[in-house]
Amino acid sequence: MQFALLIFEPPEAFAARNADENDPYLGAWRAYHKAIVEAGIFVGGNPLQAPETGTTVRLKNGKRRVQDGPFADTKEQLGGFTILELPSLDAALEWAARCPAASIGAVEVRPVSPEYLRRVTG
């Protein structure tokens, strides 16, 4: 089964992206990524740029609405996502707990929906 790990980080984590090579958060992420790949469970994923770089688009009553900034105005913001291939939610939660973001932000684990994908893609 595939699970999406949606990674929510506080402002400090985004600020730390430009930190030096010895930054523990960067080191932790490098190690985490390696562990996922070597465990053979990494399907895909990407970090996202900081929330300020987001632009949110809606169509309201047929009219375009474009807003600078991310979808929700929360302290913790989406920083990236990872898709993992795992046998169960229990296993996905274990990997979520190891994610460096879990100890300073939050990681939402949600199963990918192959059924809806099939309906959409035919």
């Binding site: 523990p24 080191g27 932790a28 490098r30 190690a31 985490y32 990524h33 390696k34 562990a35 996922i36 070597e38 465990a39 053979g40 229990d90 939660l93 274990e94 707990a97 190891r98 460096p100 879990a102 100890s103």
Partner: protein, 416 residues
């Protein structure tokens, strides 16, 4: 009574109810479910009784024997519930309870009721129940811990944990699991399951993965308490002494595991002056008790290993050859990833990193893809052998598998 006097009287009663609940929960649940096998109903009835106590005791005063009051009230609640449902469908044990009740229409408070917790502990660890649920069941039914807290500790959503607990209790009620101490023949294996479940709770608490529970204690304290209860009920069992000795040795070193700034301090770098001497001495007494009973076992061996580590406080050295000997015996009866990894680390200290690595190489790589300690030990040994790129890789695996930021930081610094 004035308004504020009434308020503080209420608060005192509230605290009394809480205290009795805390201290007596397991005994009450065990006694209430021992005959009906219906643990869930016993818990519900006890919850009901606690609510009734909060209403009745401020009005009528706290009873002389609060525990007996709760027991009697809960029993009545179960009987009333059964009467309300179709009595014809009641199980034989529940009917027996009804018959017993009809003999004492006044329900006089019996001052003592037997301690059935030992049977409840064996039920929780019964082979027919999903092994992953042994510890959660114990924590809830014997300790009365909140299901959500248990869920957090096991990294499971509270809803899922709730469902699994219901399923396990239904199995106990309907699956013919008997509330009894196992026969002599099956006792060692059944007891081992109980000890494993208690130790699993200790392990989770040990990794600081849960905060403090509603009793103000953490899981390590709760599991030590469980082991002490078990010891009181089975004082002649060597492995129970062994488990307690093991946990007390670990607890003795707890505050030495973290520096003042919260950094991780490995065992080899801990200052023995920070270890608790009283806990070590108590652990040693239990280890002595265990060995005098002449029935060796897994927990005694693990405790013996910790005892050797504790010796460093007196001798200034760690007797690694003794530790490797204990591990060799341990692997024969309990060849887990933990014992094999521990053995490799001990061999490395006693005979050199190459010998330690050879032990690690015997472990199936597929089995350790998510086992952090293997990678931490491997990284350390490769580094000692000067194999820098392989060591860096192994460090990365260990860091990526660690949940504790302090451990990650420590390994990152070691990695370089």
């Amino acid at each position: 009574m004035s308004g504020s006097e009434q308020e503080s009287a209420h608060r005192i009663i509230h605290r009394t109810v809480e205290r009795v609940a805390r201290e007596s929960y397991g005994r009450l649940v065990a006694y209430l479910s021992a005959h009906t096998r219906d643990v869930a109903s016993a818990e519900d009835a006890l919850s009901d009784a606690l609510v009734k106590a909060l209403r009745a005791w401020p009005r009528d005063g706290v009873p002389e024997n609060p525990e007996a009051w709760l027991m009697t009230t809960a029993r009545r609640s179960i009987i009333d519930h059964v009467r309300h449902e179709q009595v014809a469908k009641a199980s034989e044990p529940t009917l027996a309870l009804l018959r017993e009740d009809s003999k004492e229409p006044n329900m006089t408070l019996s001052p003592e009721f037997p301690d059935e917790r030992l049977k409840l502990l064996f039920v929780c660890a019964h082979p027919a129940i999903d092994p992953a649920m042994h510890t959660p069941l114990m924590l809830q039914t014997v300790l009365g811990l909140d299901a959500a807290l248990i869920a957090h500790a096991f990294l499971i959503s509270p809803t899922t944990m709730g469902q699994r607990l219901v399923r396990a209790k239904t199995k106990i009620r309907d699956g013919g699991i008997r509330f009894e101490i196992p026969q002599e023949r099956e006792l060692p294996e059944r007891l081992d399951a109980v000890l494993e479940a208690i130790y699993a709770a200790f392990g989770i608490g040990w990794d600081d993965m849960v905060g403090v529970d509603q009793r103000g204690r953490d899981l390590t304290e709760e599991s030590v308490w469980l082991a002490r209860v078990l010891l009181r009920l089975m004082p002649q069992e060597a492995e129970v002494h062994g488990l307690l000795a093991l946990m007390l040795h670990c607890e003795a070193r707890r505050s030495a595991r973290r520096g003042p700034d919260g950094r991780f301090v490995p065992l080899s770098e801990q200052d023995p002056k920070q270890w608790s001497l009283p806990l070590i001495e108590e652990a040693e007494r239990h280890l002595g008790e265990a060995s005098s009973r002449g029935r060796a076992g897994r927990f005694q061996l693990e405790a013996a290993i910790q005892s050797v580590h504790a010796e460093r406080g007196r001798s200034g050295r760690t007797a690694w050859p003794a530790i490797t000997l204990f591990y060799e015996q341990l692997i024969r009866i309990s060849p887990t990833l933990g014992t094999q990894t521990g053995y490799a680390a001990a061999v490395a200290e006693a005979e050199g990193p190459k010998a330690g690595l050879a032990v690690l190489d015997e472990i199936d790589l597929a089995a350790v893809s998510t086992y952090q300690p293997y990678w931490a030990v491997r990284a350390h040994l490769l580094q000692r052998l000067g194999k820098t790129p392989e060591a860096a890789d192994a460090f990365d695996r260990a860091i990526g598998l660690s949940e504790d930021p302090a451990v990650r930081k420590f390994l990152l610094q070691r990695r370089g």
